[in-house]
């Protein structure tokens, strides 16, 4: 097997595994840039996966090919609403943001499994019948060498994820909204003095992270697992969190890290069919994202600086 054939297996599957991580990691960027720690990304993905699968199973007959897209939108909305719990607890009631995130994770899994048992009488849903189609991107897929690697035989949500990372970059770094968002996360008191509503900004940021986490979970469930059970989302939210940190709280960096983690994930699965990877124990690939994140944080791979006010509730008038 030549290098090109190997790449033809690895690259599409890396993009395939990265899509849910990119969405969720971008959600994390919004929330944490505003100063709110979001460990609940895992739970938000769980909710997104659950909602999208249930929607898909229930309405596949009525909406046909449109179903997975509508499911994404519904998952996005429900994710945003669910994240309000985290917002209320950690912004208004000044709860410890990490503890509140842990509660989000517990609640998401408990509630969705409770409802699955209530609705289907068993711990796991059926397989969904209508998913996204694999496409070849017009024009681009005909480029020699690169075309078949990057633009053939992949799912549209993967491209949306990558495009969205650039949109997020534009929003955070080039718009007044983004400037306010970052100001609130670095120095909320200064931002407040300049007339920015800190509470409102943080609520919006947390809800964006809920929406994106919901999409991430929905994409994972629709493309990769195709059903919902207790093990559907197992650590992907935390891996997205890791991608966000590895990407230094920057949208493009987070996307790059998510693609890289997607690559590690895909290698741990397809690695067995690739000659020179066959002898590498999969455990190294499985732990790679986490080890790299620790190294990045410790400053071995460039210093990762968190937003200054991350994790501290803003109390008006307190110095």
């Amino acid at each position: 097997m030549g290098v090109y054939e190997v790449l033809q297996i690895i690259i599409p599957s890396a993009i395939f595994f990265a899509a849910p991580l990119i969405f969720t990691a971008l959600g994390g960027v919004f929330s944490e840039r505003s100063g709110v720690v979001n460990i609940g990304l895992e739970g938000l993905m769980v909710i997104g996966a659950f909602v999208s699968v249930v929607f898909n199973l229930t309405f596949a007959d009525r909406f046909g090919e449109l179903t997975p897209w509508l499911a994404l939108i519904v998952a996005m909305v429900v994710g945003a609403i669910f994240s309000l719990l985290h917002a209320v607890a950690s912004i208004t009631f000044r709860a410890d943001q990490v503890v509140s995130g842990v509660a989000i994770n517990f609640l998401a899994l408990g509630l969705s499994l409770f409802l699955v048992k209530k609705m289907y009488g068993k711990g796991q849903t059926d397989q969904i019948q209508v998913g996204f189609d694999k496409i070849d991107v017009p024009v681009l897929s005909h480029i020699p060498v690169i075309g078949p690697l990057f633009f053939s035989n992949t799912y549209i949500p993967s491209y949306i994820a990558i495009i969205f990372a650039f949109v997020a970059w534009y929003v955070i770094y080039k718009t007044p909204f983004g400037l306010r968002l970052r100001a609130v996360g670095e120095h909320p008191m200064a931002a407040d003095t300049m007339g920015i509503n800190v509470t409102k900004m943080r609520y919006i940021a947390v809800m964006i992270s809920g929406a994106l986490g919901g999409i991430g979970g929905a994409v994972y469930a629709t493309i990769i697992s195709r059903d919902f059970s207790h093990a559907t989302i197992s650590g992907h939210g935390f891996m997205a969190l890791a991608a966000m940190i590895f990407g230094k709280w920057h949208p493009i960096g987070a996307m790059g890290a998510a693609l890289f983690f997607g690559l590690a994930q895909s290698l741990s699965i397809v690695g067995q069919s690739i000659p020179f990877l066959k002898n590498v124990p999969t455990v190294y690939l499985l732990i790679a994202p986490y080890v790299l994140t620790i190294l990045a944080l410790a400053g071995f791979i460039g210093r990762a600086e968190a937003p200054k006010a991350l994790g501290t509730p803003y109390i008006k008038g307190k110095r």
């Binding site: 720690v37 460990i39 719990l85 209320v88 607890a89 009631f93 000044r94 709860a95 410890d96 990490v98 503890v99 509140s100 842990v102 509660a103 989000i104 994770n105 517990f106 609640l107 899994l109 408990g110 509630l111 499994l113 409770f114 409802l115 048992k117 209530k118 207790h230 093990a231 197992s234 650590g235 935390f238 891996m239 969190l241 890791a242 940190i245 124990p281 999969t282 455990v283 499985l286 732990i287 986490y290 080890v291 994140t293 620790i294 944080l297 410790a298 400053g299 968190a306």
Partner: protein, 348 residues
């Protein structure tokens, strides 16, 4: 303020009550009978000797996991990595239990010690990084959890078994299992671990409240700068706090390895005990005695839940919802404190 002590006691109690209340609303809304649900839960936790035995068995690792989280909290650290330290401790205890042939008086303590050391080493890494590189321990410990999960699975497959899914059973000399405790509880899986857990609680209380080192650790947790000016070695104290917390977590793993299961299997996901430990510590007010009570509460919730599907038709996950709600309410204690102070003012 003498009433602050009362408030500290009332906050967790109210959080539990609110959690149970909202849980019953969830049951009502989804068409179940909350009274039947909660009676099934109570019966499943304390209904007869067997259930009591199971509840105490479940309480055992919860106590130690709660102590681990609480010890870190008291010293100003948030150890979310209890889950990973617990898995590594479990692995180490089973490894020692399988690999050696020793008399029980040496073998059993050695296996528990191995678990404590393994957990402590796993927690040393985030402690070291926090102390020397100022890296937040929450993120590192989360990452360490996943590394622990995958590494322990790999070791179980390639070292403790021949590409199998579980290790051999530990030798009798390293086991915490007890015919006596099983026979008085209608052959539940109750084991001597509960004694280890209670001793752990006493050690934590003594260490934090009665020793100079414990005072130092708490001081560093309160105010690093003040401690530094007072001549304490802040970095070493941070690492020490993390290591002790990890040791408790490792011993919690030994309870599963040497007591409940007697071996270790490849895991698809986390045990959840480490994460539940966060709830145990919060409800227990981060003090040793409170943790004994809250661990019992969570042990009863988890074991009692198993009875709910058969006798009240309620899915066991209801209990996970209730636990999540309790964590929310404790975390939002600002809300409860606000309500309490309003209530008091109106009372006057």
């Amino acid at each position: 303020m003498s009433s602050s002590r009362l408030t500290n006691f009332l906050v967790p109690v109210l959080a539990v009550l609110l959690g149970v209340l909202v849980g019953s609303i969830v049951m009502l809304v989804s068409g179940y009978d909350p009274i039947a649900g909660y009676s099934a839960l109570l019966y499943g936790a304390f209904g007869d000797n067997y259930y009591i035995g199971e509840t105490i068995r479940q309480t055992t690792p919860y106590i130690l996991a709660g102590l681990a989280v609480a010890f870190a909290f008291r010293t100003g650290l948030f150890n979310i990595g209890v889950e990973g330290q617990l898995i590594i401790g479990w692995l180490a205890s089973v490894w020692v239990g399988v690999a050696f042939d020793l008399p029980k008086v040496i073998h059993l303590p050695l296996a528990i010690l191995a678990a404590a050391v393994a957990g402590a080493l796993w927690a040393f890494i985030p402690g070291f990084l926090k102390a020397h590189f100022k890296v937040h321990e929450v993120i590192i410990t989360i990452m360490m959890n996943y590394i622990a999960l995958h590494v322990s699975n790999a070791i179980i497959r390639s070292v403790l078994s021949n590409q199998g899914f579980k290790s051999e059973k530990i030798h009798e000399t390293a086991s915490l299992q007890s015919e006596f405790l099983q026979s008085i509880t209608d052959y539940s899986t109750l084991h001597y671990g509960i004694i280890v857990a209670v001793i752990g609680a006493i050690i934590m209380w003594f260490l934090l409240e009665k020793t100079t080192k414990g005072y130092e650790l708490r001081a560093v947790g309160f105010n690093q700068h003040a401690s530094h000016y007072a001549g304490m070695n802040v970095k070493r104290n941070i690492i020490l706090a993390m290591v002790i917390s990890g040791a408790f977590a490792g011993v919690a793993g030994a309870m599963e390895g040497l007591g409940t299961f007697g071996n270790i299997s490849v895991k698809a996901g986390f045990t959840g005990i480490g994460f539940d430990g966060i709830a145990v510590a919060l409800i227990g007010g981060n003090n040793a005695f409170g943790i004994l009570l809250s661990a019992l509460l969570f042990g009863a919730l988890k074991v009692g839940a198993l009875e709910m599907p058969s006798s009240a038709d309620v899915p066991t996950e209801l209990v996970d919802i209730v636990i999540a709600l309790i964590i929310f309410f404790v975390a939002s204690s600002y809300l409860i404190r606000l309500l309490l102070s309003r209530f008091k003012k109106e009372g006057k």
